[in-house]
Assembly symmetry: C2
């Protein structure tokens, strides 16, 4: 008999989880397909955007990860569709790829909710090029203001962060540290005290998934770092000059980070599957796509229900556990047993606000803030990184940044694609 062919779309947390759990299993061949040629450790993306880490610290070549499993292969390419009749995945630049089982784990992208000007003038923070582009853009604003100080009055040094979730909070904190610690020394003639970091959040509180004491701690920490909080406010429009709030005020700013929401990659609709309003693929309690045999969707792409039918949040642990669950379903394919429903175990959540400031909320009511939470956050993220080399490199960069108050990666690089491609 020939091996069971599993095709996984996406090399994020979910896709890699499937591949690892099927790695070196008999009679199974796995092919992982992703547009990028690397697995991106998104939780540290904001540190690349603020020059604390280098891209290769958090982007691990997918082939390097997967080659340790003899039965797992990788292909870099854009998925254009599925031929459901012949059960083949269509990938640009490649022959159709037949599958017996298909796992969709394409992840999510920035959602702009149709707010005018966001696409053109704001940065998202989901892809590696978002972070590198934002870093260059921000450095360029400071360089230009140093050459022409009249730019300061036009908001060249200002940053608006939209969205008070973990990404927005982390970015706002990282921006103030970058400005007051690194740029204050780099640009001694610039009035860095006039560099505003404004955090806009539609709700009345930051970090809504956290309990109130932690939300308050985050708010206090950001306040002490000098972040201006605009809570209960939304963005009406973004243009090249700044951000207009819903109350009509204009915040002049050249750099706008849009961290107000994500939507699933548009793969579900492109494949003709039922999706939610956020583009997430509708799946059952077994994470299977209805009316399609042996097709699953997991992670940020899927609207995975918990046992009560509530849709789970778009978080890395949901994707990782979903991947393990689907791998188990695939391994049990011939047993005929009735699948137990997917059960998500919430092991807690954390967010960091900056140097020795973080909030952590664990099960059983355990919660802490400050240095302890910050150290826990550092340790957890270090462990979750893939590969000894990346862990060592991130650890050394963190130690360096902490001791010297420096950020080594503050270099402006624009790299355009070669015209022949």
């Amino acid at each position: 008999v020939s091996a069971h062919r599993v095709v996984v779309v996406g090399a994020g947390f979910g896709g890699l989880s499937v591949a690892r759990h099927l790695g070196n299993q008999p009679d199974i061949d796995v092919l992982v397909v992703d547009r990028a040629n690397y697995h991106l450790f998104q939780p540290l993306l904001y540190q690349v955007a603020t020059a604390g880490l280098e891209p290769a610290d958090i982007a691990h070549p997918a082939r390097g990860i997967l080659r340790r499993h003899r039965n797992v292969r990788f292909r870099s390419g854009e998925v254009t569709g599925v031929d459901w009749d012949t059960r083949r995945l269509l990938v640009k630049g490649s022959a159709p790829i037949p599958f017996d089982s298909l796992v969709l784990a394409a992840g999510a992208r920035t959602a702009t909710f149709g707010v005018p000007g966001v696409d053109e003038h704001a940065f998202g923070l989901k892809r590696l090029q978002d972070a590198v582009g934002l870093r260059s853009h921000l450095l360029r604003q400071f360089e230009q203001a140093d050459a022409d100080p009249t730019q300061v009055d036009l908001g060249a040094l200002n940053v608006v962060v939209v969205g008070g979730g973990p990404t927005g909070v982390e970015m706002a904190g990282a921006f103030t540290e970058l400005f007051h610690v690194v740029f204050a020394r780099d640009f001694p003639r610039l009035p860095i005290h006039r560099a505003r970091v404004v955090l806009v959040e539609m709700a009345d509180e930051l970090l809504t998934p956290f309990v109130r004491p932690l939300r308050n701690a985050a708010r206090r920490d950001l306040y002490h770092k000098g972040v201006e909080l605009e809570l209960g406010r939304s963005v009406a429009e973004v243009d090249a000059k700044g951000v207009r709030l819903d109350d009509g005020r204009l915040i002049p700013a050249r750099t706008v980070l849009w961290a107000a929401g994500v939507q699933a990659e548009p793969l579900g609709a492109a494949l003709g599957l039922a999706t939610t309003r956020g583009g997430r693929v509708v799946v059952g309690h077994d994470l299977a796509v209805p009316d399609h045999e042996r097709v699953w969707a997991i992670g940020d792409l899927a609207a995975s229900p918990d046992e009560e039918g509530e849709i789970l949040p778009q978080l890395a642990p949901v994707a990782i556990q979903g991947g393990a669950y689907v791998a188990e379903r695939i391994l049990a394919r011939d047993t005929g047993e009735q699948p137990r429903p997917f059960h998500y175990v919430d092991r807690g959540t954390m967010a960091t606000i900056g140097r020795r400031a973080a909030v952590a909320q664990l099960p059983w009511g355990i919660r802490f803030t400050g240095t302890l939470a910050w150290l826990a956050w550092l340790g957890l993220h270090l462990i979750q990184l893939i590969g000894f080399r990346n862990r060592l490199s991130v650890l050394l960069n963190w130690a360096w940044n902490y001791v010297t108050w420096d950020r080594a990666a503050r270099i402006i690089v624009d790299v355009e694609r070669h015209p022949d491609e």
Copy 2:
């Protein structure tokens, strides 16, 4: 009295050498202007292109280097001209910058010599974006060939390196190691033995500045690594499919590195100064620009003569020593003493061919090859890197690459400039 204002154009080896020698000197203000916001350690650029090092390992923020001197400032911007009457440097996006002394150290760029197709289809290797762009391009060729094996017949895996100087030799050696060590594991289904690395050199020998035994050693090492040598051959044309040699043969290749020559940045002509055929600014034995008071040109930008009137080569040590010489001239500005002519001390030259293979040629007839030369090369480059953090990072990356035969930075990233800029 107000301080003597020195403006230095270029933050390369020459410009930094001037700034450092004038650092913390009384009654002197220095402003260094560069298009980039970093000093690039060009000798290791080829390792970024072949995924062995990360950009931030060899690009050090200029402000970080210069801020240790209280009297030295930096500005990032493009020089558009000089108003010679009022003695002011014109920089895009900035008010004119008055100077008492001006040092031109803008360096060199790739010279294509008008060969058709080189601009459009080949990569140079002088700027950081060249290296990052080449890395992405090469990785993409292998990914595409893995998805569509018919691409192999069209030369998707082939690389042509044009130019048999140190850069060409280093790149050719690094490509073969990348292919046979890293890609052979990453792409187990690709016929890596069919990935050709062809080195084209117009002269009959490689590394012409070296003595014959070292040239022969380099040639032998490259041959053993599987590099195809086309000596005594030049390139007639480059297009998207490959390289046509002067004997009419077409070498199919998607990746072409043009390392056949450099020309000075076009600053000399733009400023109306006398230049050589290669665009180098004509200077006297004191590195001063004739007919301009207190204006010097150094490094790759200048045609610096040695004591016999021979034009010195475009090498880092010439720029560094030229910078120190000009700084000394500026410090002695009021003494009225007759300047001794610039004297270049050749401390030797090295080139590396790959893992434990290099050639080194020192004064007094000392020369060696193999592991010893390779270790000397590693040590010398490590010492010359700026900053403890970069030295440590490069050392760790080298150790990692050597022990694991891996290259961590093999990620494809294209980052385009923000449309607002």
